[in-house]
């Protein structure tokens, strides 16, 4: 089981901030494929990976990264702090 979090317009498109998934995906990219296939709202949120960022266990990572041992995955647009 893995916690998946969504922020900003990713959260808005998918319609929820967080969910718990039982997934066999071994990489972030594979998880994204699995989510895209679920429903149109996921497909819309993950339409353009270049406009998305991913964090694994609260550290910035990338879409090629393995999911082994990861408890929390977060998807969000590029950050705009400051």
């Amino acid at each position: 089981m893995i916690d998946v979090l969504y922020f900003a317009w990713v959260r808005e498109r998918i319609g929820l901030p967080k969910e718990r998934l039982d997934t066999g995906a071994t990489t972030v990219a594979a998880l994204v494929e699995e989510l895209r296939a679920r429903e149109d709202r996921y497909a819309a949120a993950f339409e353009d990976l270049a406009s998305l960022r991913v964090a694994l266990d609260q550290e910035l990572s990338d879409f090629d990264a393995p999911l082994a041992g990861v408890r929390e995955v977060a998807f969000f647009p590029p950050m705009t702090g400051g």
């Binding site: 969000f76 950050m79 705009t80 702090g81 400051g82």
Partner: protein
């Protein structure tokens, strides 16, 4: 060395007043970010963040600045939630012996805060709502460090 992530407003004057004292301090730099209303139609800005990761990211950025420059003090305050035009969003402060270090560290903190701290801004105005897009220039600014 301190990081604060909060919804409440803060008093930049009081923060500066109590920041960066001691015999080694010769230079104190502060940066304060304010909600701008370019169009005159902004009713508020909503700042979303990633609790947990935000604090980690800010602490890491501050640790990196402290490793690169001889700082005698540093402070990062960043708000989240709904802010009106003119309200202060965030503040960084750096203290060092000399001005070059204090300026460089403050600019470094700001550049990393912009693109590496998990905050997202949404503008709610008379013309509707929109997420503030990240700027290429902000990402490019990181290459100078």
């Amino acid at each position: 060395m301190a990081v604060r992530v909060q919804s409440e407003s803060f008093d930049p004057g009081a923060e500066l007043e109590r920041f960066g004292t001691g015999p080694d301090v010769g230079a104190v730099v502060t940066f304060t970010g304010v909600v701008r209303d370019d169009s005159g139609k902004l009713s508020r800005m909503e700042i979303e963040h990633y609790p947990g990761m935000t604090e980690r990211a800010l602490a890491a950025i501050e640790a990196e600045a402290t490793a690169r420059w001889q700082l005698t003090g540093s402070l990062i305050i960043h708000r989240y939630g709904a802010l009106a035009p003119g309200e202060r969003i965030m503040m960084v402060a750096t203290a060092a012996r000399h001005r070059a270090e204090a300026f460089a560290a403050a600019e470094f903190l700001m550049d990393y805060l912009k693109s590496r701290a998990p905050f997202w801004k949404k503008e709610i105005g008379a013309d509707g709502t929109s997420w503030v897009a990240a700027k290429d220039a902000d990402e490019a600014a990181l290459t100078r460090w």
